[in-house]
């Protein structure tokens, strides 16, 4: 194989510009009508051209579940792997070939149940992956069992009397795993999702995005209480780095610190109070953790974005150092420390 570059190279600005349709494959999309996945697929296809990365340098890796069919619908390289293991396959792809832009498409069961171990380790290593977790709080492809994000007491096919397992908060898991980029968005708010995915794509290192996604068949209305269009503005807060935490249709509510917790304050939008919290993506992870756990408003946007070297850079750095210190000499290592000659 020819020498590959250590970095993703983008297309020359002067050349032909890719469009969303260039990223659509010839395969029929087979999600249920009305599935939130359609919107996410369309948004990703819309975000990719702007990144300038050639199609052939783009790889989508997935595990198992409804969301994991995603790669088949992208006209890029793609790998539909096995349940929970997408981060491992993607780690191999990215570290073997730093010139590729690698996305991981996963769901709440795939990433947090069977693949929980791989997710946390990919994040702690800061593998340069764009990890999109489609969270619909249910197992869809196996037809309706509770997932690790299902709310406590939820009645499903496998929990007719209600679940007795406390759910995980995906953002909290990512933060605890030292993820360098952690964000949240909603499948029905496309402009905001576009912004968040664009930032994730440009982040160097692991970018983890939880996307609230609706399952029309097995968990319809999964996020309606906060994400439905009529309540979204009042029930969610869009974070912006360096900006006060304000929400509400009329921008008349904000967050203020109260002891170790937050409180919502209402005010006249013309004169917001001075002591509202100001979002800082680089603040200690404990702040993002607290925001992630807040009941209402549910925060959206980039909770945390810090810079640290991704795994492939560190790996290549060691290889370059080893090469500069010692030229590879196959005969020498075959000989080992000591040889003797039989005449």
């Amino acid at each position: 194989m020819a020498d590959v570059k250590d970095e993703i190279e983008t297309l020359p600005a002067s050349g032909p510009v890719l469009q969303a349709k260039d990223f659509k494959s010839d395969q029929m999309v087979r999600w249920c009508p009305g599935c939130g996945d359609f919107a996410i697929l369309a948004t990703v296809q819309k975000v990719l051209p702007g990144l300038g990365v050639p199609r052939e340098k783009t790889v989508f890796v997935s595990g198992i579940g409804c969301s994991s069919r995603f790669p088949y619908y992208m006209n890029t390289y793609g790998f539909h792997s096995i349940h929970g293991r997408a981060p491992t396959v993607a780690t191999g792809v990215k570290c073997a070939r730093p010139d590729l832009m690698v996305w991981v498409i996963t769901g709440d069961g795939d990433a947090l149940s069977i693949g929980g171990n791989h997710l946390i380790h990919a994040l702690r290593r800061n593998v340069d992956l764009k990890i999109l977790l489609f969270n619909n709080r249910i197992y869809g492809l196996t037809k309706g069992q509770y997932s690790p994000t299902s709310e406590l007491g939820k009645k499903t096919k496998s929990s007719p009397m209600g679940t007795i397992d406390a759910p995980l908060n995906p953002i909290a898991v990512a933060l605890a795993s030292e993820a360098s980029f952690v964000a949240r968005a909603i499948d029905t708010d496309l402009p905001f999702l576009t912004d968040v995915l664009g930032r994730a794509a440009r982040h160097k290192g692991s970018a983890f995005v939880e996307i609230f996604q609706n399952c029309v068949v097995f968990n319809d209305g999964a996020w309606d209480s906060v994400a439905a269009k009529d309540v979204r503005d009042e029930k969610t807060l869009k974070l912006a780095h360096g900006r006060p935490m304000i929400f509400g249709k009329n921008r008349d509510k904000g967050l203020r610190q109260k002891g170790f917790d937050f409180e919502v304050v209402s005010f006249d939008p013309a004169s917001p109070p001075q002591d509202l919290l100001v979002h800082d993506e680089q603040a200690p992870a404990t702040a993002a953790y607290a925001l992630a756990h807040m009941g209402e408003p549910v925060v959206q946007g980039v909770l945390r974005c810090v810079s640290r070297p991704p795994l492939h850079e560190l790996m290549n750095g060691q290889i370059e150092r080893a090469k500069s210190e010692k030229a590879p000499d196959l005969q020498k290592i075959l000989n080992g420390p000591e040889t003797w000659t039989v005449a």
Partner: protein, 618 residues
């Protein structure tokens, strides 16, 4: 050693010898054994070694649980095994004596560290009475030496702490053994100077201990006479000593260098395979990427990803780890990507015997996956052979676009032998097949010779495609649930693996092509089987042997060979796994010779197995 000494004490020429060093895990037994091995290799003997260490890193001092051993057979003729029974046991404490004495040849020498035979150590070792006094060792020649006291005397004035002094007693014992077998000290002296070059005090201490032990053996006339093992007739060339795990790691580096494919190792630490990870992580200057994954599944997952991305990808483990990788191996079968999966077998099931050897993962390699999931399986026969089998596994994986299993075992991994170093330039080059122009290419279009699909890694413009674990449509590789397509694909994947039979050289037969008994072995039992068959042939028995390196597919000439013998005996360190395969495939009443003790075969056990079979036949 002075000339006067060699003259004053008689020297006896012997053909071969087996010695075993044994002591606490912290006694430096493996180091002592490796030093004796290097010196013996330089002396021109053929040799074979076997370390035997406990699973616990530091089991309670003085107990039999913590005993570590190192055995070497060396000879003026060909050596195929580390030897059945030691002629000499060097035991650093009562526990080492207790754990090993039953293996020592009757009439053999027990060299015992007398200092340690106090009540406390005897109790820890489980001796009710002191074996030095109760006559229980009367079958052997017991030589007791106050190793601790003599080492302290030799090191007096160096200003070492008692612990530092204590650590030198293994070299005192080594010096004695060098005298007993007429070995020069210079190789070990050179090693000491290099090893402790930053600490001249330790150089001096170890030198003194080695010399003092050597002189003591001579002047105290403990042994009466000493032995000489002359040079063995060895094929001319440059040699090194090599363990199976070292040879394995080098095979991967060589395969990467000669294919131009960067090497990716995804691995998770596991005994006895970890040394391959350690060794490969030293060779980053060859562009080798070693990834210590969070678990066994991630290890192979990363390898599959790296393979998809165009690297020569491997994963190294042992039985329990392989069990965890099964689903991912199936993914590599389905996506038809090259991945070499190394299983350094150990005693099972479950955690089993982590540091002991066994061959009980053959059926796991052949069949241990869901669905019809054929994987080529290779097995190395000796420590040095691991290099060549690794190379072959890599070549086949790339040529046939398939995962390939390579089986070694704890005995091969840790055992060592002199190895004729190959010339790097003489190794056959290999690489991926050329990719057809886009118009003629489809993700699952096959080369008719190999039935392999083309390896198209991301980055190739116009070839963008998707693969995965769902059944593939023939040629296009698109998802397909079509019943006829599924059957066709299952048969195609099997046919592709069977095509590898065309790569297998004619099977070598040790002995005549026809006769009474044919032994069929595989893996690390090669040495013991070969030595036994050579002995039996000398004794006039009509016995031949073949040793399989290809377990799937089997050599195409094997059926023919089997039919030339009245009886087929299959010695294995399991309950009869190859036996099952041979009986099923060739419909022959083959017989097993099985041992499941976590220990390799002794030559005598195989000889006895053949003799019994011949006796029954009469």
């Amino acid at each position: 050693m002075s000339d006067a000494a060699t003259k004053s004490l008689p020297i006896e020429d012997i053909e071969s010898a087996v010695i075993r060093f044994a002591g606490d895990s912290g006694d430096g037994i493996q180091l002592t054994g490796m030093q004796f091995t290097s010196t013996t290799a330089f002396a021109g003997n053929d040799l074979s070694t076997l370390p035997d260490y406990p699973a616990e890193i530091r089991a309670p001092v003085g107990t039999t649980a913590g005993v570590s051993g190192f055995q070497i057979q060396f000879s003026s003729r060909q050596v195929l095994t580390p030897g059945d029974a030691p002629d000499v046991l060097v035991a650093m404490n009562p526990a080492a004596l207790k754990a090993n004495v039953k293996d020592v040849k009757k009439g053999g020498i027990l060299l015992l560290n007398k200092d340690t035979f106090g009540q406390a150590n005897l109790t820890k070792a489980g001796y009710e009475k002191n074996p030095l006094d109760d006559g229980s060792l009367s079958d052997w020649r017991v030589i007791t030496v106050e190793l601790g006291r003599l080492t302290r005397n030799a090191l007096e004035g160096l200003g070492l702490t008692p612990t530092e002094t204590e650590r030198c007693k293994n070299f005192f014992a080594l010096g004695m053994m060098y005298w007993l077998y007429d070995r020069p000290l210079d190789a070990t002296l050179r090693w000491i100077e290099d090893k402790f070059k930053k600490n001249p005090k330790f150089v001096e201490a170890n030198r003194r201990a080695l010399h003092a032990g050597n002189a003591y053996a001579e002047t105290a006339e403990l042994f009466g006479h000493h032995y000489r093992v002359r040079k063995a007739p060895i094929k001319p060339g440059t040699y090194r000593n090599i363990t199976g795990n070292e040879a394995t790691a080098l095979g991967f580096v060589a395969a990467s260098a000669n294919s131009g494919l960067p090497l990716w190792l995804g691995s998770y630490p596991i005994t006895p395979a970890s040394d391959v990870l350690h060794e490969l992580s030293k060779h980053k200057n060859f562009g080798v990427k070693t990834f210590q994954a969070e678990d066994e599944i991630a290890a192979i997952g990363s390898a599959i990803g790296a393979s998809f991305a165009g690297n020569l990808a491997i994963t190294t483990s042992s039985g329990p780890g392989i069990a965890l990788k099964s689903e991912a191996i199936g993914l590599a079968v389905m996506t038809e990507l090259p991945v070499v999966v190394l299983n350094v077998q150990r005693g099972g099931p479950s955690t089993g015997l982590p540091t002991k050897t066994e061959q009980a993962d053959l059926l796991q390699a052949l069949y241990g996956r869901n669905g019809e999931c054929p994987v080529p399986v290779l097995a190395a026969a000796t420590p040095g052979d691991c290099f060549y089998m690794v190379y072959e596994a890599c070549r086949l994986a790339v040529k046939y676009m398939t995962p390939v299993f390579l089986l070694t075992d704890g005995y091969l991994a840790n055992g060592s032998e002199p190895w004729l170093v190959p010339s790097a330039g003489a190794l056959a080059k290999f690489g991926p097949a050329a990719v057809a122009p886009i118009a003629d290419w489809k993700p699952y279009k096959r080369d008719p010779e190999t039935l392999a699909r083309a390896w198209v890694a991301p980055g190739m413009k116009g070839y963008e495609h998707r693969i995965g674990g769902i059944e593939k449509q023939d040629v296009t590789g698109n998802v397909s649930y079509d019943p006829d397509n599924h059957e066709r694909m299952v048969r195609l994947r099997a046919a592709k693996v069977n095509k590898i039979a065309q790569e297998i050289a004619p099977t070598e037969i040790l002995g005549e092509r026809k006769g009474e008994v044919l032994l069929v072995g595989w893996g690390g039992t090669y040495g013991a089987i070969t030595a036994a068959v050579q002995n039996l042939q000398k004794a006039g028995r009509s016995v031949s042997a073949v040793h399989l390196r290809h377990l799937n597919p089997l050599p195409p000439d094997l059926g023919d060979i089997l039919s030339g013998f009245k009886q087929v005996l299959v010695p294995e360190l399991n309950m009869g796994q190859l036996l099952k395969v041979l009986r099923a495939k060739y419909l022959i009443p083959a017989v097993g010779l099985n041992k499941i003790k976590g220990q390799p075969f002794k030559v005598s056990e195989i000889e006895a197995g053949v003799e019994n079979l011949l006796k029954e036949a009469r």
